[in-house]
């Protein structure tokens, strides 16, 4: 399966701490994306990292990609209570192999305590 799998399933931290979530996948990819979902809402795209990139930053977010290990990590620095949400990774396959769809993992539930 091309589906990404996040780890851990749940993460609970205090405000100000860093939160790290990991994603592993099984096949070759075109890119890997991270999304956030607040309870009962739609997903919001956070960041996209291409297969030829190793690291990308956006504000307090840092994403790494290791294609040799087929894994990615999302780091949220100086977390806030408002960061409480589920975080999903999604992989975009090589063109011609997956018809352009994204494969979403089951997500990591992050809880940040004030």
């Amino acid at each position: 399966s091309q589906q990404g799998e996040e780890d851990p399933q749940a993460l609970s931290i205090q405000e100000g701490e860093n939160a790290t979530m990991n994603c592993s996948y099984k096949t070759s990819i075109n890119n890997l994306q991270w999304y956030r979902q607040n309870s009962g809402r739609g997903l919001v795209h956070l960041i996209l990292i291409r297969s030829n990139e190793r690291e990308k930053h956006s504000g307090r977010l840092r994403v790494t990609l290791d294609t040799s290990k087929k894994s990615s990590s999302l780091l949220i620095t100086a977390s806030r209570a408002a960061d409480t949400a589920s975080y999903f990774c999604a992989t975009g396959g090589d063109r011609g192999s997956t018809l352009g769809r994204l494969y979403f993992g089951r997500g990591t539930q992050l809880t940040v305590w004030p």
Partner: protein, 112 residues
């Protein structure tokens, strides 16, 4: 700017009744459109996606169908709902394949 509208937000339907969920996108042309279902505490299951008017691809066999009567309109339907159709339904669009997807706020469907 682009926006996506999905309604209703919540729906309670009896078993065997029909279903029609609508999703519309504004501010873009010829988007890819997607219908997902999300079970509680689970990831997203892709149900249908469309790359153009009248072009629908189904990912899994099921009790549901989709149609795209207009460029920016995507409809999810069922003739007779089953208890197993309960869930959180999300519509999304993207510019093209493998690109970021933009989601609506979802419809919580409960079947009684």
């Amino acid at each position: 700017s682009q926006t996506i509208h999905q309604w209703p937000a919540t729906l309670v339907q009896p078993v065997g009744s029909p279903l029609s969920l609508e999703c519309t996108v504004e501010g873009t042309s010829n988007p890819n459109l997607y219908w997902y279902r999300q079970a509680a505490g689970r990831g997203l299951q892709l149900l249908f996606y469309s790359v153009g008017i009248g072009q629908i691809s189904s990912e899994v066999p099921q009790n549901l169908s989709a149609s795209r009567p207009q460029d920016r309109q995507f409809i999810l339907s069922s003739k007779k709902l089953l208890l197993s159709d309960s869930g959180f339904y999300l519509c999304a669009w993207s510019v093209t394949d493998n690109q970021p997807q933009h989601f609506g706020d979802g419809t919580r469907l409960s079947i009684l």
